[in-house]
């Protein structure tokens, strides 16, 4: 068992860190303040394969292993979690379901534009009455000849207003919602497909999270992913993969808050001494470092299990649960260490603090993660 990162992972981290610090560092604060999605940085990310991190080369992807993928998301989120969010959603719940469940025709049709970053992906499950309970989805797709006609409203869609390719979770039979669920690929510009208002959220403000409306939205049957009724299966597999990305994002946030806290505690003088000389602050830093390390190890373990081809659902849920709760805790402590300044928008820890909370909510709440983990634990033979 080797806990040292291999040379490739070290170089990936350095390359992405350099990019993030140079291109996102100067604007991370402002895009949060202005709730502005930085399209100019997206332009620079396109040729560098940020939009096809794990997709096969044949479709324009970089075909990275999952640890490399997690490192990319972690490093981008260390500077801007909102941009990290765009990437992780696009790569893991936008592209991955098409790679895993799509037909060759669908892959050829949709993936090159997505991996090239020309079409941003979104995964649309959540509705007013459905979130943790995927069975509560009411969006309805009705078969009409060789088409499906979709009606419904999706809410809290990450990448909502910028998405070009949305995967819509819909049922085809109101009498049998769970068994009739399907995932439909709907492209921007499709008649009947419209973007709603951008949500005014506590954190991740640079990501245009919005609702999406489907009104008599007609798509050919070739836009159905998998077979009719595969929806739940696709949804669950997608969320397993998605959780690794969100765990990485939360980890990047925690890392950023920790680094700022170390720096600040060395600079800030109270009672004529740097506050890092006080035992209380040292204990805070020790706990932060330990929890971040534990979170990172859990995450990379989940990634390694995934790359080995074994089922990784429970490992991904553990990583997501622990990374996100660590992010909330560490960013909270970071604000505390910064005192009044930490509560000010002048300091980045205030942004990290707001950004962190949602990592415990989306891609399965902490409660859902515990459900997934406990199921796996109870299913094992003791």
């Amino acid at each position: 068992m080797d806990f040292n990162p291999c040379m490739k992972h070290k170089v990936v981290r350095k390359a992405v860190r350099m990019f993030a610090e140079a291109e996102l560092g100067p604007i991370a604060h402002d895009i949060d303040r202005d709730a502005r999605f930085p399209t100019e940085v997206m332009e620079k990310m396109r040729p560098l394969h940020f939009f096809g991190l794990q997709a096969p080369k044949a479709y324009g992807g970089a075909e990275m292993d999952t640890i490399s993928y997690a490192i990319v998301i972690e490093e981008i989120s260390r500077i801007s979690a909102a941009v990290g969010l765009c990437l992780t959603v696009h790569n893991s719940v936008g592209i991955y379901p098409i790679v895993r469940f799509g037909t060759e025709e669908q892959k050829k049709r949709f993936l090159p534009a997505m991996t090239g970053g020309l079409q941003i992906g979104a995964f649309c499950l959540t509705e007013a009455n459905a979130g943790s309970d995927a069975g509560g989805v009411e969006t309805l797709a009705v078969r009409d000849g060789n088409d499906y006609v979709i009606n419904g409203t999706k809410i809290f869609v990450t990448n909502g207003s910028i998405c070009g390719t949305a995967l819509i979770f819909a049922i085809t039979d109101t009498q049998n919602p769970q068994r009739s669920a399907g995932v439909f690929i709907v492209e921007k510009g499709n008649p009947g497909f419209a973007v709603g208002e951008i949500e005014d959220l506590c954190g991740m403000r640079a990501n245009p999270v919005s609702s999406l409306f489907l009104e008599e939205c007609r798509v050919p049957e070739t836009n159905l992913l998998g077979r009719p009724g595969d929806g739940l299966k696709i949804g669950l597999a997608t969320l397993d993969a998605g959780r690794i990305g969100i765990a990485a994002q939360a980890l990047g946030l925690a890392q950023a808050a920790f680094e700022d806290s170390v720096r600040y505690s060395k600079e800030r003088q109270q009672f004529k001494k740097p506050i890092s000389s006080f035992q209380t602050i040292r204990n805070y830093l020790a706990d932060m470092a330990t929890e971040i390390d534990a979170a990172r190890l859990l995450l990379y373990r989940a990634c390694a299990v995934r790359d080995s081809g074994r089922p990784f659902g429970a490992e991904a849920a553990m990583a997501k649960l622990y990374c996100s709760e660590t992010a909330t805790k560490v960013t909270n402590t970071a604000v505390q260490i910064h005192g009044g300044y930490g509560y000010s928008k002048e300091y980045d820890v205030e942004r990290y603090f707001r950004d962190a909370k949602v990592t415990e909510i989306y891609e399965g709440t902490s409660e859902v993660q515990r459900m997934v983990i406990s199921r796996a634990v109870l299913a094992r033979r003791t």
Partner: protein, 276 residues
Amino acid sequence: MVKMVVCIKQVPMVSELPWDPATGTLQRDLAEGMMNPACRSALDAALRIKETAGGEITAITMGPPMAEEVLREAIALGADRGILLTDRKMAGADTSVTSHTLARAIEKACQGFDLVLCGCSTSDSETAQVGPQLAEELDIPGVAYVDEIELSRGAVRMRRISDHFLETLEMDLPGIVTVTTGHYAPRHVPLGGLQAAFTGAQIDSLDAEAVGLDPEWIGAKGSATKIRNVFSPTAGKKNIVLTGAPKRIVEQLFDLFDDKIGGAIGKDLKTDKNSK
């Protein structure tokens, strides 16, 4: 097809410099390495030549096994292959011995090269000596501090700023240039290229014996330079509060300004001003 060799050095990452406050020296063993910024510009210059006129790029570095990282990075950016010169016997080399080692390795492993590109200096030592010394060792013409370079009919045409003049120079090949960070903006590493650089790329690792180097002329043993002291330069900051009547304050301010600026540029500004 022009055959290019880019010499690259891995230097400690500036943002993560672990500095030992007790000794005032850099803790190199703890530092993360990165490609020296000027070497990055030299690589970029070579890549642009390759992109417009075609060609082949060999990235070469001398350093510990960890230095392989910068070769992989160079390959991810578009270099065709890498050569890693690594041997404990090569450690502690001064600039002269470094140039000697690089020259012999280039002769051995990059036969028929047309153009060697180096960064004009490195961020960890700033001597700017290796490139010009390499020209001597290889016995080929060399131009240092080049801002821009392009191929022109079997020769290279270069622009550089020297003593406030913009010079345009032309040099026959084979030759060597050292490149500044002025014109070539470092490009970011494509992630797909990085994956490929770690799977199918060719990197040859050579030790002193494989290059055929005389053990007396490499590493610390062959180096004439001995470093006596390394220290971090100190920059002081001081606040001065001026008090009194506004006229007096302004006079004081100008006096202080004259002292500071005049001192820095070595000119008596007061006398200069009074004489006008």
